[in-house]
Symmetry: C2
């Protein structure tokens, strides 16, 4: 469902009164009914159909493995919900390893009393996101906790992907002079959730950027191979936390230019209104790519040709060793300041 050009926050229009019960987590008859009625019917495939404790698949070569638990609140937000977020988030973690995602596991912790319509709505979003990303959900689990011991729905997805043969993603391959690309506007996801949570009504429609990045990354690796040295998605903690983590691992300086950082005007205004620094805000459809300098301009053009990279920009470069890692930003008016990692908690439960 759409409203004002973006998906509605809570797409459930009417409730039957049917809710998740503790018995749905018992492992007995009610669990089987829940799975048969809502889960297997949405995701049925040769793996799930076996209804075993796990799934068996054939693997050959380098595989990537990643996991994330999703606790975003509220579970429905402009542009998505916890379901597609949980698929795209893990898909993108695999893509950041240079892998094409193939298989996902799906594990729910449901709160007693969750309306069944909200559960099925999340299931449908998971289904759609999995289809779009080309992955199969091959194993899963469902637990239920008492009312007040959870918060509607928590989801864990773990994923497996096949690493691209040309991928050589390794922080230790980064050298002074390597350039840094980001594929789009920052801070959309965090601000969309935050504004909804705080009951703020912006005139503009800021929507989460949640999406899969696996095809774009695959194409990038096809085209630029090992010139792509590191890929990271700036989710929790935002761009600044990812760059600080890398600078810390490398013990070098990372230099970024505020003027080149892409951000939508309405997001920037919202950040100012909320007193938030967009560099610390979570993104769910972005990646940061460290690339060898000679390929940087071509890679930027390449990424910009993809709809998910149309606002891509070269935002900085790797400086020299300075004894300790740090991120230095040249501001719009030319001054320089050190950008630290997010010190505490700015936006809890953003993913």
């Amino acid at each position: 469902m759409e409203k004002n050009g973006f998906k509605m926050f809570c797409p459930v229009e009417s409730y039957s009164g049917e809710v998740i019960l503790l018995g749905h987590g018992s492992g007995g008859t009610l669990t089987a009914k829940l799975l048969n009625d809502y889960v297997f019917s949405a995701f049925g495939n040769e793996f799930l159909d076996k209804k075993h404790d796990g799934a068996i698949f054939q693997a050959n070569g380098r595989m990537a493995f990643s996991t994330d638990s999703y606790v975003v609140s509220p579970i429905f937000f402009p542009g998505g919900n916890i379901g597609d977020l949980a698929v795209n988030g893990t898909i993108n973690d695999l893509a950041m390893c240079g892998a094409m995602p193939k298989y996902l596991s799906l594990s729910f912790i449901l709160e007693e009393g969750l309306p069944i319509e909200e559960f099925t709505c999340v299931i449908q979003s998971i289904r759609q996101a999995a289809i779009e990303a080309g992955v199969s959900i091959i194993t899963g689990d469902t637990k239920v906790v008492e009312k007040g011991k959870g918060d509607r729905i928590f989801i864990n997805t773990s994923g497996l992907g096949e690493v691209h043969p040309a991928a050589d993603i390794d922080v230790n391959r980064i050298k002074t002079g390597d350039r840094i690309i980001i594929n789009g506007n920052i801070a959309s996801h965090g601000i969309s959730v935050m504004s909804l949570r705080e009951g703020l009504e912006f005139e503009t429609s800021i929507v989460s950027d949640t999406t899969n990045l696996n095809y774009l990354i695959f194409d990038l690796l096809e085209a630029f191979g090992s010139d792509v040295k590191l890929l990271r998605d700036p989710t929790r903690g935002g761009v600044s936390s990812v760059l600080n983590e890398i600078a810390g691992q490398l013990q070098t300086e990372i230099l970024i230019d505020q003027r080149s950082l892409p951000i939508a005007e309405e997001v920037e205004s919202a950040c100012e209104m909320l007193g938030l620094d967009p560099l610390y805000i979570a993104n769910e459809g972005l990646f940061i790519c460290f690339i060898a300098e000679p390929s940087a301009e071509a890679a930027l053009e390449f990424i910009r040709r993809d709809p998910k990279g149309k606002n891509a920009a070269l935002i900085g470069r790797v400086g020299g060793a300075v004894g300790k890692g740090r991120v230095v930003m040249e501001s719009r008016i030319g001054g320089k300041r050190i950008i630290n990692s997010l010190p505490g908690e700015q936006l809890p439960r953003i993913c």
Copy 2:
């Protein structure tokens, strides 16, 4: 720590007052500190040391993949805690696929205010259980929810294992006359947690049977190969739910003999006192094996030679097709009754 011959319920003897904060889930400085101080130091390996969004490993052949979220309450119980339970549970799901577990992911949902000593105690149990099972924790995630939106600690583990070359675990290979073996006494885990939760003090010390089964299963497959037709662990919902699920898939009758079902006297007494049927109680160190009749006696002897199988028993056999699946138990006094799957919720949050 031990007390009365079993591990203490809560092994933390003194609290510093340091607790989990929302900022520990921010993705920024506090998250990095929590991981560096407590997680990477416990599990450090070549995969985790890369501190990337996922781990890359080499795979060749048939792999098993499984996931489970653990929400057991209370988190410390006689014989274990949510940490070793979360490792052993997923390890055993992989073993039930005929696989030797190799890699685990580890994902926490922590409740704000969790004492840091309880977190580190769980971490140490996870570490020990992973070492015992021979698996490496190669990727992970940590989220924090506000006080009252979770319950101390929830854990997801997902696992990968290499399927034994001789394994041909498939419910559809089961035939009339196949025998059913269980490797030990039933109902210990559920009763240990339940008695603690209800504040019941049994004179005897009933402890959870949580343990890994991967080595025993590997040896069984080495010895009996494809004569092993199906392996399942009777966790949530107990023996009856697993057998009903299989009977339903096969559309045949499964016949079990109450006299042969191994159960400790003290557990049976506790079940009577609590008004619980041990057939529905969760187990965490048991497997049920469907095996070709000619190998059944030898397999039983083989399992009994392992300390984790010393109480193993042949508990039943597969009857003929009866139009629909059902489980029929011959009681101690010779009567027959149909054993249904657990209808509702008997023991919530048992794993």
